[in-house]
């Protein structure tokens, strides 16, 4: 992953750039007193989405296309160890991303009022499973080039409509009503809540869990190891 410059752009440069740019300008319609407090949970969601969905999905799509997965399937590695290796890689990258973003956020004046760490970790875990499931569902069926376009397109839609930069309340009513059930909206909202209160919005949590389980089942059922 790290050998490809575009991955570095996706995983580090874009989230940090969005965080710095929109926290220092008045371009976003937000009612929060401190813009960084609104932005930070959304950018953390974006980091999870970029690693677990886009990066994993695109890499896996090309591995399928190049026959890497088929080739590994003839070794003693086995499916379980391969999945475990991918999960470990995602976790390591996400930890590095979150640490970097939290440092940048704190430097920009982020001040979470009441952090429920256990809740934050659980929500991040469910969010990661959800986006990994979506990424692998696409990667496991589509041709590498189409998968690349689909992952990037979905990333953009979930970024714009997912309560990451703009609150769903600011969207037109009909669009906002649909957008609030997108996985990125649910993750952003749950993180915003977990970083500023001890309460857990059960409906959002159940909805995110449903997305996660559906996406993971779909990935397992539909995944093809080679084109």
């Amino acid at each position: 992953m790290a050998r490809n410059g575009e991955q570095l752009l996706l995983l580090v440069v874009i989230p940090v750039m969005l965080l710095v740019f929109f926290s220092q300008t008045d371009l976003l319609p937000t009612t929060s007193e401190n813009k960084i407090d609104f932005l930070m949970p959304g950018i953390l969601s974006l980091a999870v989405m970029s690693t677990a969905m886009v990066s994993l999905g695109i890499a896996t799509g090309f591995e399928r296309s190049y026959g890497v997965l088929k080739r590994l399937g003839t070794t003693p590695l086995g499916t379980r160890r391969l999945v475990l290796a991918k999960v470990s890689a995602i976790c390591v990258i996400e930890v590095a991303q979150l640490v970097l973003l939290i440092i940048v956020g704190l430097l920009l004046g982020w001040n979470p009022s009441q952090v429920n760490l256990a809740q934050v970790l659980v929500v991040l875990l469910i969010g990661t499973s959800c986006f990994a499931g979506i990424g692998l569902s696409l990667a496991g069926r589509l041709r590498a080039e189409i998968n690349l376009a689909a992952q990037n397109g979905l990333y953009l839609v979930l970024l714009l409509l997912g309560g990451i930069l703009v609150s769903n309340d600011e969207l037109p009513n009909s669009l906002g009503n649909v957008a609030q059930f997108l996985p990125s909206s649910l993750l952003s909202s749950l993180l915003r809540n977990s970083l500023n209160s001890t309460e857990l919005v059960i409906t959002d949590f159940v909805a995110l869990c449903s997305w996660a389980s559906t996406a993971c089942v779909l990935a397992v059922v539909s995944f093809k190891w080679s084109d």
Partner: protein, 265 residues
Amino acid sequence: MSAKSCELRTVMVMNISSQSHEVAISVRDLVVDYKQLRAVNKISFNAKVGEVTVVIGPNGAGKTSTMEVCSGVRTATSGEVSVLGLDPKKDRIKINSQIGVMLQDGGVYPSSRVFEVAQHYCNLYGNRTTADELIDMVDLGRQKKTSWRKLSGGEKQRLSLVLALAAKPRVAFLDEPTSGVDIFGRDLIRGIVRRLADDGCAVIMATHELDEAQRVADHVLMFQDGNLLANAPLTQLRASAGNNQTLEDIFRSLASNSSKSREVQ
């Protein structure tokens, strides 16, 4: 049908249990379908330890499908396959530690470098051999730091062979190992294949280059349209056809007879 053709057909259906070597791969009534297309049509054969079994036939004859079923990459539609006494699908992890597979199209990430891919595969098999040893064996020492995408076609084939050899395999499946390889590379690969078999490995190698097959085969499986035209030791096949006949002549004769008999039916 000429007398020679009759003899050939006798060899073609030769008793597959005539064995001086232990059977490593046993295939019985194998069928592989792709939706409406039958790629492999009820074939049976054995491949033995210490022998190079060459699978020959034109493109789309069923060679790769057969190899993929035997190596556990593909599921058979029906039939029985046993590799080292194990089921390639059910006992996949057990079998995978004992077989080496060279796929037709690499299966390597383009940015991966020669040494690191070889090292990675040696690690996967518990370091039974070293990356340096394998790289030297296929004469890729000068390309150690070269990425896959920058290798020539022949160099890619040699690296693919390294990945199969990292297993120190008891059974090696090599799908067109000399395709796109220059004359010196072919000699090198042929030598490695021969040594593998002499060291007790059952080598099963697909190719559509009949001259190549003639140089390296102990046993020949001839495929056409998913059917097995011949299943016999090379020496016996050539003796039946007359020793001045090449494998190409034999294949043409069998393929023509097979087409005629289908037309009659």
